[in-house]
Amino acid sequence: MDHLRVEQLLPLTPVAFEILLALADGEQHGYRIMQDVNARAGGAVALHAGTLYRALARLLEQALIEELDERPTGRDDERRRYYRLTARGRAVAIAEASRLATQLATARARRLVEVTP
C-alpha cells in the first residue's frame, strides 16, 4: 500500500486534514468525526455527511485511515463503523501540519498575520 510517498499526497484537501485531525486522538465513528470538525469550526456548519463519507472513502483508499475490525464495546448502535489513523496517516498528518506551520511562519514573517508571542 506504500505505493505513494507521503510527500506526494500533500497538500491534503481541507476536509481530509480535518478528518485526520479528528482521528488524531483515537478511533471515532463517522458522526463523531463530523461533530468534532464542526465543533472546531466554531459552530458554523462546515461538513456535510455526504462530503464526509466521500472523503472517508478516499482516505481509506489511500490507506491513511482504516476501519476497525471490531466495535469498541458498549457504544452507540450497530450501524456505526469506527475509523482510526494508520501509521502512514499519522505521518501524512504530521507532514501536512508542518507544511502549514512553515506557511504560517512565512505569513508571520511577511506580516500577513499578527505576531503573537
Binding site: G30, Y53, E61, R79
Partner: protein, 905 residues
C-alpha cells in the same frame, strides 16, 4: 434534538439513490444513522447536499471505472481494484466459456465466421507486409534511389540511361555516397557444361553495385576494381547447379564462349534486380537471375564504339546511395543542373533529356501497391461483414438472454459490469477466431503466393512474422469489441420487470432497440455486399474487355519457344543455312501450319528500340524518332497471323546481298507517314544513322501489342533475319490443333535435328498471354472470392433476421390467418419486409460504391468506374439474394397453424 420521522427517512432513501450502488452499500447505513441523529441542518439542505454529493461521487466513479487493471486500491473494495478487475475478468471468462459450451453449434459458427474474416485479413496483410512494408534486402535500403533519364518531349518521363550520361552523372553530383549502373535487361546466356549447353539468366552489373547495395557475398568476394570477365553466383543457382560446393570460388565457367571466373556467392535472401527495377521497358516474367556478370563500360562493345562511350543509346538502370541528410528531392535538383549542363555540351544527343530520381523502395514495389491495397480494402470489408454477422448472432442470443441479464442486474450488477461481461464474451470469440486463423494463415499465405503472378515483386520474401501476429491480435480485439458493443447496447438496459415476469419462457421477443439494431445490421451487411460485388463486377468486366482486345495476332493455336544456336554456327551465312534447315524440319512436323521466329516475343519478352532517320527529313541526332525494333525470322507474320495491310512481306530474295528492306507496323506508318504511303520510303537506323545504309520500307503490317494488352501498340519495325540472323530467337509455330499437343513432337524433332541446339521456355501463346494478365487475374480472383463470400454472408444475415422476425411474429401471423388472411399475403408480408431492408442496404451500398469506385480506376480497363451495367445489375442481384434468403422463413410464416400459434404463449 428531534429524531426524524419515516417520511424524512423515505425522502433520504430517494436522495441516497444519487450515490453509486456500491458506495451506498458501503456507507449507506452510516449515512442513514447520521441522518437520524443529526441536528442543526434543515431537511431540505441535507437532502440537497446528499444529491449533489451523490452525483459528484457517481461522476468520479465513472471516471475511475476499472476498464484496465491498475494498482490503485478500489474505493469501496479493500482488496483493491486490481484484484477486482482480475476477479471479474475470471468470472466473465468462466461465464463466457460455460455459455459457449452450452451452445456449441452457435459458438462454432461464430468462431468459424471470425476465423475466416480475420484469417483472410492476416493472409493478405502478410503479403502487404512482405511486399510493401518490409525494407528491401539491402543495407540501409531507405537511402537507396534509382536515377533515370527523362524526356518529356518524347513522352518518356522515366527512361533508361545512356552509358556516357551515367558516367557524367556519377562525377557530377556530391550528394551520393556512390552510384552504380546495371544493364536494364536480364540476358539469357549459354553456359557450356559437360552435359551440353544450358541457359543461365544473367544481368550485367557494374563493379561497385554490391557495395552501393551494402551486401556482401557469403562465399568469396564481390567485384573489385579491374575484375573483368568475372561472375558472382546467386545462392539459389549455386545450390541448384553446384550443390552448394564451397570450392566453386575461383572456378571458371564458359559463358557464351567466354571464360569467366567465379568470384563469390551472394546470400540467399539477396534479390537483385527486382523486375520492377528494370525500368519502363524492362518488362520481364523472370523472377531472379542465376549470376551477375561484371560490367565495365569501357569494355562493353555496346557502350564503347570506336573508342568513345556512347551517349545516345539508353540501356542502363542506375542505383545511387544518398549521403546522410540528403533527400531524393535535393538530389533531383542537383542532377537537373548536371543534366542541363550535359544538354548544353552535347545538344545532338542530350537535348530534351533531364533526370528523375525515384526512391528504390518505391521503384521496386510502387507498381503493385494499388492492387495490394485494393485487396486489403476488399478483405477488410469481408471482415467487417463477418463481424456484422456474428454481431447479429450475438444480438439474437442476447434477446434470448434478456432474462439472465435481468437477473444479474437485479442481483446488483451495474450497467458497466454487464457491458463488460458481454464484451468479454465477444472478444473471447474473436480471439478464438484469431487463433484458428493464425493456425491457417501459413497455409493461406502459401496458397496466395502460389496463386500470385511472378510479376509481383518480393513474393519469395513473404512470410508471417511478429508484425502479422500483432496486427492479427489487434484486429481480433477490435473486432471483438465491435461485435460486443451491439448486443451490449441493446441488452444492458434490460427491462427488469418484463424480463423477470416473462417467467423464463424466453419468447418475449426483442426490445425495440434490439429490433432497430438488427435491421441496421442487415442494412449494413447488404450495403457492404453491394460495395464488394460492385468492385468484383467492375474488375470482371475489365478483365473480359482486356481479353477481348485484339493483340494484333491470333494467340490461339500458337506455340512459342526460345532457342539458342550452337556455338559452332558462327558466320551469318552458316546461321542462315541453319535456320533454313531448321524451319524446313519444323514445317514438316504433322500438325504444323506455319513456323517463324522473332527476336522479341509480344507479351512475353522485353523490347528494344532504335532511332531512325527518314530520308528527306534531316533532324539532329537527339530529335530522331525512336521505334521498336525486331527481326522477323522466316514465316513470322503468317505464323502469327499478323495481317499485311500494304505492300509485301519478306521473301527469300531479300537476302544478305540484296538492298536492305524493312516491314513496319501500322502505328509506325501513321506516326511517320500520316496520310501518305510508307511503302517505298527509305530510313536509316542505329545510334549513328548517317553511317548506316538506307533501308527501304516494303510493307505495312497490323500493329501488335507488345508490352501488354492494355498498352496501345508502339511504332515498330522489322527487318528480315536474312539481313541479320539472330543467335537466340523466339520461335512461333502455328498448329492446326491444340498447340500443347505438339510440344513433345517438336522437342523430339529438334533434338533429332541438332542435339547442340538449346531449346527452352516452350509455352503456348495463350499461356504467354495469361502470364501477361496474371496480376489482374490474381486481383480479380481474390476480389471475386471476397464478393461471393460477401453475398453468402449477406444471405445468411438476411435469413437469420427474417427467421427471428417470423419466430417473434408467429402469434400475430396466427391471428391474421385465423381472421382469414390469405397465406400468400402473409408470405408477401415477410418477403416485403426482407426486400425493404435489402433495398435500404442497396441504396446505402450504391452510395458508398459511387464514392469509392473511382479509387479502383488504376485497376480498370475498358470500363468506367460508374459503369451503368454494373451499377444496374448488382443491386438487382442483392435484392434477389435477400428475397431468396427470406424465402424459407416466409414459407414457414405462411404455413403457421393459427390454432397452435395462438395457443402458444
Amino acid at each position: 434534538m428531534s429524531r426524524r420521522g419515516p417520511v424524512a427517512g423515505a425522502l433520504l432513501a430517494i436522495a441516497l439513490l444519487a450515490y453509486p450502488r456500491a458506495f451506498r452499500a458501503r456507507f449507506g447505513a452510516e449515512m442513514r444513522a447520521d441522518f437520524h441523529t443529526a441536528r442543526g441542518q434543515s431537511l431540505g439542505q441535507v437532502l440537497a447536499m446528499h444529491v449533489a454529493n451523490g452525483l459528484a461521487e457517481r461522476g468520479a466513479a465513472m471516471r475511475r471505472w476499472p476498464l484496465w487493471p491498475n494498482r490503485q486500491p478500489h474505493l469501496y473494495e479493500p482488496r483493491g481494484r486490481r484484484a477486482m478487475f482480475w476477479e471479474n475478468l475470471r468470472s466473465d471468462i468462466g461465464h463466457a466459456l460455460a455459455l459457449a459450451w452450452r451452445r456449441p453449434l452457435v459458438t462454432a459458427l461464430a468462431v468459424l465466421a471470425l476465423a475466416l474474416g480475420i484469417g483472410a485479413n492476416s493472409a493478405i496483410f502478410t503479403v502487404v507486409n512482405g511486399v510493401l512494408l518490409q525494407p528491401l534486402p539491402y543495407g540501409s535500403a531507405s537511402d537507396l534511389v534509382m536515377i533515370w533519364s527523362s524526356n518529356v518531349r518524347e513522352q518518356k518521363p522515366v527512361n533508361v540511361v545512356s552509358p556516357a550520361n551515367f558516367l557524367d552523372y556519377r562525377t557530377g553530383v556530391e550528394d551520393l555516397v556512390d552510384m552504380e549502373a546495371f544493364a536494364s535487361f536480364i540476358t539469357s546466356a549459354q553456359l557450356q557444361a559437360d552435359e551440353g549447353p544450358e541457359m543461365v539468366l544473367t544481368v550485367n552489373t557494374g563493379l561497385r553495385m554490391f557495395d552501393v547495395l551494402q551486401r556482401q557475398p557469403v562465399l568469396g568476394r564481390a567485384f573489385g576494381p579491374g575484375d573483368e570477365n568475372t561472375v558472382v553466383l546467386s545462392h539459389g543457382y549455386w545450390q541448384r547447379r553446384f550443390g552448394g560446393d564451397p570450392g566453386i570460388v575461383g572456378r571458371t565457367l564458359t559463358l557464351d564462349g567466354t571464360p569467366r571466373t567465379v568470384l563469390g556467392v551472394m546470400p540467399g535472401d539477396f534479390v537483385f534486380p527486382y523486375a520492377t527495377m528494370l525500368g519502363p521497358d524492362g518488362f520481364t516474367t523472370r523472377t531472379g537471375v542465376d549470376l551477375w556478370s561484371a560490367w565495365i563500360p569501357e569494355r562493353d562493345p555496346f557502350a564503347n564504339r570506336s573508342g568513345q562511350i556512347v551517349r545516345n543509346v539508353h540501356y542502363l538502370a542506375v542505383v545511387g546511395r544518398l549521403r546522410t541528410g540528403v533527400s531524393a528531392r535535393t538530389l533531383d535538383t542537383r542532377l537537373a543542373t548536371v543534366a542541363a549542363q550535359l544538354e548544353q555540351a552535347y545538344p545532338a544527343s542530350n537535348s530534351g533529356w533531364g533526370t528523375v530520381v525515384v526512391p528504390l523502395h518505391e521503384q521496386a514495389v510502387g507498381p503493385v501497391r494499388p492492387a495490394l491495397l485494393l485487396l486489403l480494402a476488399g478483405v477488410g470489408v469481408v471482415l467487417l461483414m463477418s463481424c456484422v454477422n456474428v454481431a447479429g448472432l450475438a444480438l439474437a442470443q442476447s434477446v434470448g438472454r434478456s432474462r439472465e441479464l435481468a437477473v444479474r442486474s437485479a442481483l446488483g450488477a451495474g450497467r458497466a459490469r454487464l457491458v463488460r461481461q458481454l464484451l468479454t464474451e465477444s472478444v473471447l470469440l474473436a480471439l478464438a477466431g484469431a487463433a484458428v486463423a493464425l493456425l491457417a494463415v501459413q497455409w493461406g499465405v502459401r496458397a496466395l503466393v502460389a496463386l500470385a503472378p511472378s510479376t509481383i515483386p518480393r513474393l519469395s520474401e513473404i512470410h508471417p512474422d511478429g508484425t502479422v501476429l500483432g496486427v492479427t491480435l489487434v484486429v481480433a480485439i477490435a473486432a471483438g469489441i465491435g461485435i460486443g458493443l451491439v448486443p451490449a447496447l441493446a441488452a444492458s438496459r434490460p427491462d427488469l420487470r418484463d424480463a423477470l415476469q416473462d417467467g423464463g419462457r424466453g419468447a418475449a421477443g426483442a426490445s425495440p432497440m434490439a429490433r432497430r439494431l438488427r435491421s441496421t445490421l442487415v442494412i449494413g451487411e447488404v450495403a457492404l455486399a453491394v460495395l464488394l460485388s460492385t468492385g468484383a463486377v467492375l474488375l470482371l468486366r475489365s478483365f473480359t474487355s482486356l481479353l477481348a482486345v485484339n493483340p494484333g495476332f491470333t494467340p490461339e493455336g500458337l506455340l512459342t519457344m526460345q532457342v539458342t544456336l550452337p556455338e559452332r554456327v558462327t558466320t551469318p551465312a552458316a546461321r542462315l543455312a541453319y535456320y533454313d534447315e531448321l524451319f524446313e524440319r519444323l514445317r514438316a512436323v504433322p500438325g504444323v501450319l506455319a513456323a517463324g521466329g522473332t527476336t522479341r516475343l509480344p507479351l512475353g519478352s522485353t523490347s528494344v528500340s532504335t532511332t531512325i532517320d527518314v530520308e528527306g527529313r534531316p533532324l539532329p541526332d537527339a530529335e530522331l524518332p525512336e521505334v521498336q525494333f525486331r527481326r522477323a525470322v522466316d514465316d513470322y507474320f503468317s505464323a502469327m497471323q499478323t495481317p499485311l495491310l500494304q505492300g509485301r512481306t519478306f521473301t527469300r530474295e531479300d537476302g544478305p546481298t540484296s538492298p536492305p528492306v524493312a516491314v513496319i507496323n501500322e502505328a509506325m506508318a501513321q506516326r511517320l507517314f500520316p496520310g501518305d504511303s510508307a511503302v517505298g520510303r527509305r530510313i536509316r537506323t542505329g545510334p549513328n544513322p548517317s553511317r548506316s545504309p538506307w533501308t527501304t520500307i516494303i510493307g505495312v503490317v497490323g500493329s501488335v501489342r507488345h508490352t501488354g494488352l492494355e498498352q496501345a501498340p508502339a511504332p515498330e519495325m522489322y527487318i528480315s533475319h536474312r539481313q541479320g540472323p539472330p543467335v537466340a530467337p523466339f520461335l512461333v509455330v502455328r498448329a492446326s490443333g491444340d498447340p500443347a499437343a505438339l510440344v513433345e513432337t517438336i522437342r523430339a524433332e529438334l533434338r533429332r535435328f541438332d542435339r547442340a541446339l538449346a531449346l527452352f521456355d516452350v509455352k503456348t501463346m495463350l499461356d504467354v498471354r495469361a502470364a501477361s494478365v496474371a496480376p489482374r487475374r490474381f486481383v480479380l480472383l481474390l476480389v471475386s472470392a471476397f464478393g461471393l463470400l460477401a453475398l453468402v454472408l449477406a444471405a445468411v444475415g438476411v435469413y437469420g433476421v427474417m427467421a427471428l422476425v417470423v419466430g417473434e411474429r408467429t402469434r400475430e401471423m396466427g391471428v391474421r390467418l385465423a381472421l382469414g388472411a390469405e397465406p400468400r399475403a402473409v408470405m408477401r408480408m415477410v418477403l416485403g419486409q426482407a426486400t425493404r431492408l435489402a433495398a435500404a442496404g442497396v441504396a446505402l451500398g450504391l452510395f458508398a460504391a459511387f464514392v469509392l469506385t473511382p479509387l479502383l480506376d488504376s485497376q480498370l480497363f475498358g470500363v468506367r468506374p460508374y459503369d451503368p451495367i454494373t451499377f444496374g445489375t448488382v443491386p438487382l442481384l442483392l435484392i434477389l439474394v435477400a428475397a431468396a434468403a427470406a424465402y424459407a422463413p416466409a414459407r414457414r410464416a405462411m404455413q403457421t397453424d393459427p390454432m397452435q400459434a395462438i395457443r402458444y404463449q
